[in-house]
């Protein structure tokens, strides 16, 4: 675990906290682009990085391209189109969300510590595990505590980043098959695109992307 990867993990945590407190949607998208790039870079600076192959470098570039540019770019276009700049009246306020984010860090530190203590895993990835659980939990939190459909998509993206970090923290590189990893990434990309299309349609039918308007279907 080099100092550089520690710094990257700190940046990831910072981006998580910033996204929880972000008012403006454009700022939120920029934070997600930053987070996407940082998260894709982390595996490069882990212990097993000296076994870098052609395949893994190529995969890294594809991942940065998709997570750092394509997906945020796509969401950015959607934000521009819908003319809504801010998340007004979130279900949970910004200060409370920030506080929740800090709590998630505490709880995940506790969980990660317990996991490593009980399973006699090599302790070098504890920080990575803490970041992964925090990102995952904050993504889910963002998904549930905001009204606007765009913020929910960003929450989903953040959750996916957390799961990806979890994968790098847990799995040895020997299991990685680039074809499979690329498939996961492709699913994510197409998923965000479809969400974007549905979002645009919601915007043109309802004149808003507030999911509170989506309440016709119930029993």
């Amino acid at each position: 675990m080099s100092a550089f990867s520690d710094a990257l993990l700190a940046f990831t945590l910072l981006s998580v906290l910033m996204s929880l407190a972000a008012h403006r949607l454009v700022a939120l998208v920029k934070i997600m682009a930053f987070q996407g790039i940082v998260v894709s870079l982390i595996p490069l600076f882990l212990e097993h990085s000296h076994t870098l192959t052609m395949g893994s470098i190529l995969m890294l570039q594809v991942m940065i391209l998709i997570k750092g540019f394509f997906i945020p770019g796509f969401i950015y276009v959607a934000v521009r189109k819908i003319k809504i700049r801010r998340e007004i009246e979130p279900i949970v306020g910004y200060h409370a969300s920030l506080f929740a984010g800090l709590l998630f860090i505490l709880i995940s530190a506790f969980i990660a510590d317990r996991i490593y203590a009980s399973q006699s895993l090599p302790g070098e990835y504890v920080l990575l595990m803490i970041t992964a659980i925090t990102t995952l939990a904050s993504g889910l939190f963002l998904l549930m505590s905001r009204h606007k459909a765009i913020t929910q998509v960003i929450g989903y993206l953040m959750m996916e980043n957390g799961i990806y970090l979890f994968g790098t923290a847990l799995a040895k590189q020997t299991h990685t098959q680039y074809l499979v990893e690329f498939g996961v990434l492709l699913d994510l990309l197409v998923g965000i695109m479809i969400m974007g299309i549905v979002l645009n349609n919601i915007n043109s039918s309802f004149d808003d992307v507030d999911t509170a308007l989506l309440g016709q279907l119930k029993d």
Binding site: K172, H175, V184, M195, S205, L214, Q216, L217, D219
Partner: protein, 475 residues
């Protein structure tokens, strides 16, 4: 090359997107025929997977593939006639996405690698989403949004479950490929705690897609808002594919000696789904929503049967086949009813027996079938599950099971009676025709035939599929 079952619909789907509508409809039916042919060749053992590190022809996969391929053929015949009488703004997209959907479902059926299975199940969500919001009405948009968000988040959790299973391999120092077949052989060396954690996340993820309560909330909306051929596909083929994910995870735990743990979870979720369906079906206002809740119930029955084990597992597999046949037939009939009355509300329909005799026959027979009356196959499968549960001494759960069945029958029959014989004296919008009722008849007839005569290869395949989780016909 078994992968042709995925590749052919993929290519024809791309072609259909760019061709005029008239050709597209033809491509739909031709692809369905080709797909069925390849599937049957795979059943005869003539073709094998080209990429054995990712795909395999497992018995349960072949079973789901055959069911999906079979009902897809009839649904595509119906869809051609359905599309000619409804106005669909972007029909090439509809045809293309239907074919992509078939492709991704075939991939689920054949996938052996854990993550490839995940990719395929997520792909089914993405490819079927455009089918649901085809009409672009406000309610259709809402249904699509819920479907995509709930299923994507659920399936993302399943990916976490996959990573937990990878971790259980690392802790147990197991060096094999990350496929269900090779993991099964060394299952006892995997770390039990992480295997259990992985199973829970996999069941939450794939269970969301399968419609198990309490993760079922997207299902009634999506099934009722999608155009009827798409609803039939969602209910008849997609839910089985998601079940395959749950089934394979359960088998891994069984092989690791943790079968009791996963069985109890499946039984619990199954019974909960049935009870939730029983409650919500009672005062249902829409007939497509009613059918959707019935799908939740039937997925609950299958999960229950698999969880019980022994004879009940055999019953669950039979139930899977017959539910797909009968429920897709019911959704196709519901499409005719929607065309005729122009409303999804039960209160806006009535006197079907007089107005729509052909559709009425299919709908009422389908309802009798789904409620478990002979000569339809669900009678046999539910009976086997109940007997299997008694053999295992699960008296309390089987009583809840029977109670839920009775409640659902009582709730649904009231609605179906109202639709069939209630008052109605207004204009009919679109009359029924043979092209839109024959597919329903054919699906129902298949269920009747399979009830009295099960081909030996089908029987053997079911047996070898359930043998690995301790299921057999001898209890």
């Amino acid at each position: 090359m078994l992968e042709f079952t995925c590749l052919i619909p993929l290519f024809t789907g791309i072609i259909a997107m760019f061709l005029p509508v008239k050709f597209g409809r033809g491509i739909l039916v031709v692809t369905a025929l080709l797909h069925l042919q390849i599937t049957i060749m795979a059943w005869l053992g003539k073709i094998t997977p080209g990429l054995p590190q990712y795909f395999s022809a497992s018995p349960e996969g072949l079973l789901v593939l055959l069911v999906a391929s079979f009902i897809f053929l009839f649904i595509s015949i119906y869809a051609v006639s359905y599309m000619s009488v409804t106005e669909i703004t972007s029909e090439p997209i509809y045809i293309g996405c239907t074919l992509f959907f078939l492709s991704s479902m075939s991939m689920v059926a054949l996938a052996d690698h854990l993550i490839v299975l995940w990719i395929a199940i997520e792909a089914t969500t993405l490819m079927s989403a455009p089918l649901i919001f085809l009409h672009r009405s406000k309610s259709a948009l809402e249904a699509t949004w819920k479907y995509v968000m709930i299923c994507s988040v659920g399936i993302a959790l399943a990916l976490l479950g996959c990573f937990f299973i990878v971790l259980s391999m690392d802790i147990g120092n197991v060096q094999v490929a990350l496929t269900f077949s090779s993991l099964g052989a060394v299952a006892t060396q995997l770390d039990p705690m992480w295997l259990k954690a992985g199973f829970i996340f996999l069941v939450i993820g794939y269970g969301t897609k399968m419609g198990l309560a309490p993760m079922h909330t997207w299902l009634p909306d999506a099934h009722s808002e999608a155009p009827s051929p798409a609803s039939a596909l969602l209910s008849g083929a997609l839910l089985n594919c998601a079940f395959l994910g749950v089934y394979r995870s359960h088998r891994l735990l069984y092989q690791a000696g943790l079968g009791d743990f996963s069985s109890n979870i499946l039984i619990g979720l199954g019974l909960l789904s049935m009870l939730i369906a029983a409650i919500f079906i009672f005062n249902q206002t829409g007939y497509k929503r009613m059918l959707a809740y019935s799908s939740i119930e039937n997925m609950g029955i299958i999960a229950f049967g698999v969880g019980i084990g022994g004879l009940a597992t055999y019953g669950a597999m039979l139930h899977l086949i017959h539910h797909s046949l009968i429920k897709s037939s019911l959704f196709l009939s519901a499409g005719n009813i929607l065309l005729g009355y122009g409303s999804k509300l039960i209160s806006k329909t009535g006197n079907m027996a007089k107005v729509f005799p052909k559709t009425f026959t299919a709908f009422f027979a389908g309802f009798a079938g789904i409620s478990g009356f002979p000569p339809f196959g669900i009678f046999v499968s539910e009976l086997l599950i109940i007997i299997g549960a008694f053999q295992k001494g699960r008296t309390i759960s089987v009583s809840i099971f029977i109670l839920a069945l009775i409640l659902i029958f009582a709730g649904a029959s009231r609605l179906v009676m109202k639709m069939s014989f209630g008052k109605w004296d207004e204009e009919i919008l679109v009359d029924e025709n043979w092209a839109r009722v024959l597919p329903s008849y054919a699906l129902l007839l298949t269920s009747v035939i399979l009830c009295v005569w099960l081909p030996d290869s089908l029987y053997q395949t079911i047996l070898s599929a359930i043998a690995t989780i301790g299921g057999s016909v001898n209890g």
